[in-house]
């Protein structure tokens, strides 16, 4: 390995400076900066939504930046496709590997650049041999001929890494590669990463596990709210400093939740289990209470919500509402029992975008509104007006198509739709994702008001300030398990982050 001095004197492999990217009104990246040195493993950390993924996608050629500088080995670049980024020696291993499930392991590694012989015939033997060589070098045993469907995430990632190696990539970006890996697999991956570093490649490692960051990386860059915070050598910082930089906001004042008297238990979930998705999920929600469900993206929170509501099944455990058990896989029964689910992706799962606001808000109560199976627009409008006024959606909106509303107003319409069913328990997944700051607090005020009326609310949120500000109790999930249950007083950015990211000794 080269000495620290030598390394610093070299031209950086990749630099990003004050890069901006927005999607319509939503600014995903305000000012992203990053410098990757050859022969270095660089950590990129930040909360969900801090802009890490957007940054990676710009490097990968998937998004084009709106402003800012992007250079590769000192030369300015502007990728318009992933093929160009690949050509320039950038390999990205996404959190969810993207493979072709119907094709063999070998073909997945070499797709588009298979070794060929006469008549452009693919030299399968050479391809297979090279695959095996790479696997040997990585120390993994994988059948090169099997199709990739059904492989574990860990093995799929190995294929992605093999792809990067066969490409001889100069820059290797790993987006939370360890999220789904076991201890051994992580060790294997790290050994590979160190080997690649010693060959002089630049590696960007995105992770929420600080122990891994400190174990593997030599430099760390922190991002927050779509902007660069700082970059420092790992040796000169601490977990505390990084967490503070990641969170760094005054939280309590932003999201006031009214104090309410907590009443009877409305929802009880016991020992819910779904292999490979979540395990042993138990908790309860009481009247007037907002229970926050925190954790990283992919921890299994939305899946739990879907299982409770009956969209997905589960293998064991039980869900009871107001003391009565709820049957599996029957959303209608869940609705009848008084559960409402506001899904994460409201455009896809919560709204009929082409229909009017009035029709959307009355969608869940069509049966009750109709007489002899006939539903008149007049009746729809009357019913929706009640909710429109309560949710402070302007009534002139009632005739407009739901798809044309802003994110915040769409969320209100979805809320209105479910509140019209007069639910006892509201499960709301990422209530303010993609909603501007002004409307955000309105949604929060609404939720708080609903809890005040005796509704039990389970709020899934990846935004730490939201969870801490709104929730009476915080459940933290990590990799399919609840790793902490914190009271409002116990819940701090650090304690939630810790439970969401740290390896708990698994009870086997």
């Amino acid at each position: 390995m080269t000495s620290q001095l030598d390394r610093d004197a070299r031209v950086p492999e990749l630099t990003l400076s004050k890069v901006v990217k927005s999607f319509g009104p939503v600014v995903a990246l305000r000012s992203g900066s990053l410098t990757l040195q050859p022969g270095s493993i660089h950590a990129l950390v930040g909360e969900n939504g801090a802009g890490k993924s957007t940054l990676v996608k710009i490097i990968a050629g998937l998004y084009r930046r709106d402003a800012g500088e992007f250079t590769l080995r000192g030369e300015s670049v502007d990728f318009t496709s992933t093929a160009q980024a690949k050509e320039a020696g950038i390999a990205v291993i996404y959190q969810e590997p993207t493979l072709f499930p119907d094709l063999s392991v070998t073909e997945n590694i070499f797709m588009g650049r298979q070794p060929t012989g006469r008549f452009g015939r693919i030299d399968r033997r050479a391809m297979r041999r090279e695959t095996q060589e790479i696997f040997e070098r990585l120390g993994v045993r994988l059948d090169p001929d099997r199709i990739t469907e059904g492989l574990s995430i860990a093995d799929q990632q190995i294929i992605e890494i093999a792809k990067a190696i066969s490409l001889d990539a100069r820059v290797l970006i790993m987006d939370e590669p360890t999220a789904a890996l076991s201890g051994n697999e992580v060790e294997r991956l790290f050994a590979v990463a160190r080997g690649l570093r010693d060959e002089g490649r630049a590696i960007l490692f995105i992770s929420h596990r600080f122990d891994e960051v400190f174990d593997l990386c030599d430099t760390v860059t922190v991002m927050r709210d779509g902007a660069y915070v700082f970059t420092t050598p790992i040796a000169e910082t601490s977990v505390d400093e990084i967490v503070r930089a990641m969170v760094g906001r005054d939280i309590q004042e932003l999201f006031p939740k009214q104090e309410t008297t907590v009443g009877e238990e409305l929802l009880r979930v016991e020992g819910l289990d779904s292999p490979g998705v979540f395990h042993d999920i138990s908790f309860s929600v009481r009247a007037g209470e907002i229970v926050g469900l925190a954790g990283l993206v992919g921890a299994g929170r939305s899946e739990v919500a879907r299982a409770i509501f009956g969209v997905d099944g589960y293998t064991s455990g039980s869900v009871t509402v107001g003391g009565k058990p709820l049957p599996k896989r029957q959303p209608r029964a869940a609705m009848a029992a008084g559960i409402a689910l506001v899904p994460e992706d409201r455009r896809k799962q919560g709204l009929v975008l082409e229909s009017s606001v009035a029709r959307n808000t009355t969608l869940a109560i069509r049966d009750r509104l109709s007489r002899l199976g006939i539903l008149t627009t007049g009746r729809e409008n009357t019913a929706s007006q009640v909710w429109a006024s309560r949710l402070e959606v302007k009534t002139s909106f009632l005739d407009t198509e739901a798809g044309t509303l802003s994110g915040g107003n769409q969320q209100k319409v979805v809320l209105g739709k479910w509140l019209a069913t007069d639910p006892k328990v509201l499960i709301i997944d990422e209530p303010t994702r993609g909603i501007d700051v002004g409307t955000k607090s309105e949604v929060h005020r609404l939720l708080s008001e609903l809890a005040g009326r005796g509704l039990g609310i389970l709020m899934i949120s990846s935004e730490l300030p939201e969870v801490l500000g709104m929730a009476d109790r915080v459940l933290v999930m990590r990799e399919g398990r609840i790793t902490a249950e914190l009271t409002r007083d116990e819940a701090t950015p650090e304690s939630v982050m810790f439970a969401a990211t740290h390896e708990q000794e698994p009870a086997r």
């Binding site: 992933t82 160009q84 993207t98 072709f100 073909e107 588009g112 693919i122």
Partner: protein, 341 residues
């Protein structure tokens, strides 16, 4: 929790890989059984000179269309306009011989193939760039092309006497007892199957059909490949149209009606997944043979006309259900293998 794959995994998955190949063998076996059954019932089914020839000749044109269709389906698309393309090209072929006396046969072939390719290009470009599902686009072009054919031909039809003798000879002639049509079809099949199995471009069709988003992330030129698939499919339908004229001599404005569905049926029966990404051209080719041979065998086996269509339907549904079951079983096995590691 998964760990490094244990060595015992290898033979099991190798067996699974072989299991997939059996899919084509299975329908080949079905084909052989049907031919045997019909021959036992009526030996002339296979052993008369005509019987043997018809057995090879009739499916050869469908084979070409089915191979083209299979390529399109493998990219997770479908081309419903091939029947109309075939009909229009067949009529074009006849018109060329009538309107341009003495036109060389090879030029007519080139014109037919080119014509089909252009139609394929239009379909492909619309699908790739307009982002409209292939089902809708090609349903539209199916009707448009058929409309053009009717407008052009009217109640007119091409008759065998309009076509030169050497051209007609292609449709009925044989080399070493094998019909020329069949030889052409099999040569095309071999070339296309080689391309799909053994070249970069061919494998990209599979990759795109397997996961279009992953293909884009890979930096594959998805749009270009999809257009290529449609161009090849259209060109093969064009070639089939020329051969249709040579084989039947009579071409009306309704020629080729319903062929698109037969081609889809042949591909699906042959194990080409309708959701893209898997299946072989050999499978589609055998599927074409099976489909048409069944049609001919059923009357001999004493099954009424009404039931013949129903049997084809059952065959298609059966093939899809079988594929689904195989896929489910396979993914269950793969999952089990993972859990027990």
């Amino acid at each position: 929790m998964t760990t490094a794959a244990p060595p015992r995994q290898t033979p099991r998955f190798a067996a699974l890989g072989r299991g997939l190949k059996v899919r084509e063998l299975g329908i080949l076996l079905a084909l052989v059984l049907i031919v045997l059954a019909a021959t036992v019932r009526n030996p002339s089914f296979l052993f008369s000179a005509d019987g043997y020839r018809d057995l090879l000749l009739t499916p050869s044109i469908l084979l070409l269309v089915a191979v083209g269709q299979a390529i399109v389906i493998i990219t997770r698309n479908v081309d419903l306009s091939v029947g109309s393309t075939l009909g229009l090209t067949a009529y074009l072929t006849g018109r060329l011989f009538i309107d341009v006396p003495g036109i060389p046969v090879i030029v007519v072939f080139a014109a037919g193939i080119l014509f089909g390719a252009v139609i394929g290009f239009v379909n492909g470009a619309l699908v790739a760039y307009a982002g409209v599902p292939a089902l809708v686009i090609t349903l539209g072009t199916l009707y448009i092309l058929r409309g053009l054919n009717v407008a052009w031909a009217g109640s007119d039809r091409i008759n065998a006497s309009d076509l030169p003798r050497d051209f007609r000879g292609l449709g009925t002639g044989q080399i070493a007892t094998i019909p020329i049509l069949t030889i052409i079809a099999v040569l095309v099949l071999i070339a296309a199957a080689f391309y799909l199995r053994n070249t970069r471009g061919g494998r990209e069709f599979y990759a795109i059909g397997s996961d279009p988003n992953a293909a884009r992330l890979y930096g594959l030129r998805v749009n270009r490949r999809i257009i290529t698939a449609f161009v090849v499919g259209g060109a093969l339908a064009g070639l089939a149209g020329v051969l249709y004229a040579a084989r039947y001599g009579t071409v009306s404005s309704g020629a080729g009606t319903g062929w698109e569905l037969q081609a889809v049926g042949a591909a699906v029966i042959g194990g080409v997944a309708i959701s893209g990404g898997s299946g072989t051209l050999w499978g589609a080719a055998i599927g074409a043979f099976l489909l048409l041979t069944i049609n001919r065998a059923l009357p001999i086996l004493g099954i009424e006309d009404f039931w013949q269509r129903a049997v084809v339907g059952v065959l298609i549904i059966g093939a899809i259900v079988l594929d689904r079951l195989l896929a489910l079983r396979q993914s269950r096995k793969l999952l089990e293998a993972r859990e027990t590691e």
